[in-house]
């Protein structure tokens, strides 16, 4: 039960953080116009959200799910922040 | 024109469905089915143009497939 709750948390919060990080990173690092990068990043972010949420339930453990999402999110977020 | 497309799609589904259980002519039925699907695509492009044609084709495919599946048990 706790396992499911933890994974659900990862599927909602973790996946959202990862999706946002991917969207932001794409928006900032994709070559070309700022607007195109924003569109592409956000569209991609939605896909990442769905896939990540799904993955939260098949990852080997709830902890892996959380780390698997928050770690890349943190790295991407840091990259975006440094770029500013 | 659109009606023709619907008929072609329906024919395709009938052929492909039959092909799944047929012991003879399985390949023939599959080829006919694929050909009918392609013909339906061509007809859709004629009816709706190159932009909307593919969208309409998918709509015809889904609508005819659904009609076929839900009517089938009642048509025996």
């Amino acid at each position: 039960m706790l396992n499911i709750a933890a994974r659900t948390g990862a599927a909602i919060v973790g996946a959202y953080l990862l999706a946002s990080a991917v969207a932001a990173a794409t928006a900032v690092f994709m070559p070309g116009s700022r607007l195109d990068a924003a569109l592409a990043g956000t569209m991609l972010g939605l896909v990442v959200f769905a896939v990540a949420a799904l993955w939260a339930f098949v990852a080997r453990s709830a902890l892996r799910a959380w780390i698997g999402m928050t770690a890349p999110a943190a790295v991407l977020g840091l990259a975006v922040w440094l770029q500013w | 024109m659109i009606a023709l497309g619907a008929l072609l799609a329906l024919a395709a589904w009938l052929a492909l469905d039959r092909a799944m259980t047929a012991r003879q002519h399985q390949l023939t039925l599959r080829i006919l089915g694929a050909a009918a699907l392609a013909a339906a695509f061509a007809v859709s492009v004629v009816a709706w143009g190159w932009r909307l044609g593919p969208v309409g084709w998918l709509g015809l495919l889904s609508a005819t497939a659904l009609a076929r599946v839900f009517a089938k048990p009642y048509l025996r």
């Binding site: 700022r34 924003a38 592409a40 990043g41 939605l46 339930f57 | 909307l52 076929r68 599946v69």
Partner: protein, 462 residues
């Protein structure tokens, strides 16, 4: 959970995600499907007395703008929608600075004057409910967005779960309770899968900047700047002296496409601009083009620009969701597939309930199923009845129709069995055809709905 196999986990996830949002999702799906006939519903409910004279767009536009110069003087923006294939009326909207809400009225193209039509929201009610649930916009949109994202997860997990996707394609065994619901659910899901994936993902796209504002990182999260870039309207130096609007005819003639919408910014001022938006005939994208003019001189300020790749993808995706390009048969195909999607959600709920052991959970699910699956169509019938029965001069009439819709829907929670609910709905729609008495495609549609519900009432076992 960890021990379960991949496919079992997907099946489990599919079941739970479907259950969590199922009842809400059915409402979203059905009202969205109904919205394919938004203008036809508005026509039936408002019955605007449009003069049957063919007016050329330039004349009609000029008349409305003259009317707006009197009625909406001082407003910072006027928006005029020209008549389309599916609506004979024009629409004029504006918001006076002192007022909180925008005004939106129907205009007769032949006279340029306001149409005195029934005070009703018409089809726009279903359209708005579909993505806002008639709540505070931000709340409603977030709830619908969450449901849509969960739907996307349900679709993906459903596809993974379904092993024999092609063989089971054509299997439907009726009258076998859970087995039948499963067969129906599979068929409805798989046979229209391209549509379900498209409509769910593009639905999220339409409000994606609300859901994922992080995408505006390139603009340092200044979404206003991003939206300004998207609409690509050049800013002009302010000039507040009064200046009259140049004739609209030459502007309409200057663009290579038929115009759908005229947007006048800062009308009456020297720095006023007119933006013409192209009609979406034969084009998938919602942004087939726009051109910007100096409103006082009629000079072209910015010619139509081609979309970038990302812009085109977004425009086409948005366009696919709205389906405004579709007419006649294609619109009907969209409607049919949308109904299939609604039925997919419904059969999923029915399947889940049928497999439940008898008890409190099953009883609750059963009652919610009735209220959601038949209750909503019944409420739609009640909405149409309210439209025909409420007195024309009732204050706040449009909102009363909506209140009655929700009241009827809530009352359906009290219906304990399928059969009475189905018969009631059939009777409601049949009665509408009789009461209205006019021939036409819309009433034919209502009659078909009545027949479907009557058929279902006849076939259902309890």
């Amino acid at each position: 959970m960890v021990k379960a196999g991949f496919r079992q986990t997907m099946a489990w996830l599919h079941g739970w995600t479907g259950l969590v949002v199922g009842w809400l999702l059915f409402a979203i799906f059905l009202t969205g499907t109904i919205s394919y006939y938004r203008f036809e519903i508005s026509d039936w409910m408002l019955r605007p007395p449009v003069t049957a004279e063919i007016v050329d767009p330039a004349t009609a536009a000029a008349r409305v703008l003259d009317w707006l110069a009197v009625e909406a003087a001082g407003a910072p923006q006027w928006v005029v929608t020209l008549p389309g294939d599916r609506e004979a009326w024009m629409r004029a909207s504006w918001r006076k600075p002192a007022e909180r809400r925008a005004q939106s009225v129907l205009i007769d193209p032949a006279t340029g004057n306001r149409l005195v039509a029934t005070d009703s929201r018409g089809g726009d009610f279903f359209y708005r409910f579909h993505f806002e649930l008639w709540m505070q916009p931000i709340w409603g949109r977030w709830i619908v967005g969450a449901a849509a994202m969960i739907m996307l997860v349900a679709i993906i997990s459903g596809v993974i779960t379904h092993k024999k996707i092609f063989r089971d394609f054509f299997t439907f065994r009726p009258a076998k309770a859970a087995r039948s619901w499963l067969d129906a659910h599979n068929a409805l899901a798989v046979l229209a899968l391209p549509y379900h994936v498209m409509i769910t993902y593009t639905g999220l796209l339409t409000l994606m900047f609300l859901y994922l504002p992080a995408g505006s990182a390139g603009y340092r999260f200044d979404t206003n700047k991003m939206f300004a870039d998207m609409s690509d309207i050049p800013t002009r130096p302010a000039a507040t002296e009064a200046a009259a609007l140049a004739p609209i005819g030459p502007m309409l003639a200057a663009v290579p496409w038929p115009v759908r919408r005229i947007d006048v910014q800062r009308p009456g001022r020297a720095d006023s601009t007119v933006i013409l938006y192209a009609a979406q005939t034969g084009m998938l994208s919602v942004n087939p083009g726009n051109a910007i003019f100096d409103a006082t001189t009629g000079a072209l300020l910015r010619a139509p620009l081609p979309s970038s790749v990302a812009g085109a993808i977004w425009g086409v995706s948005y366009g696919l969701h709205l389906g405004r390009f579709a007419d006649g048969v294609m619109r009907f195909l969209f409607f049919v597939v949308g109904l299939a999607g609604s039925a997919m959600v419904a059969t999923g709920l029915l399947l889940w309930t049928a497999k439940r052991a008898p008890g409190r959970g099953r009883w609750l699910a059963h009652r919610l199923n009735i209220a959601a699956i038949v209750g909503l169509p019944l409420a739609v019938g009640a909405f149409f009845w309210a439209n025909r029965l409420l007195p024309a001069d009732l204050t706040d009439r449009a909102n009363w129709e909506i209140r009655l819709f929700f009241a009827a829907w809530a009352l359906t929670l009290l219906i304990p069995r399928w059969r009475p609910a189905l018969w009631l709905t059939a009777a409601a729609f049949a009665g509408l055809v009789v009461v209205d008495g006019m021939p036409g495609a819309f009433n034919l549609g209502l009659g078909l709905v009545a027949l479907c519900f009557a058929g279902a009432a006849w076939k259902v076992r309890q």
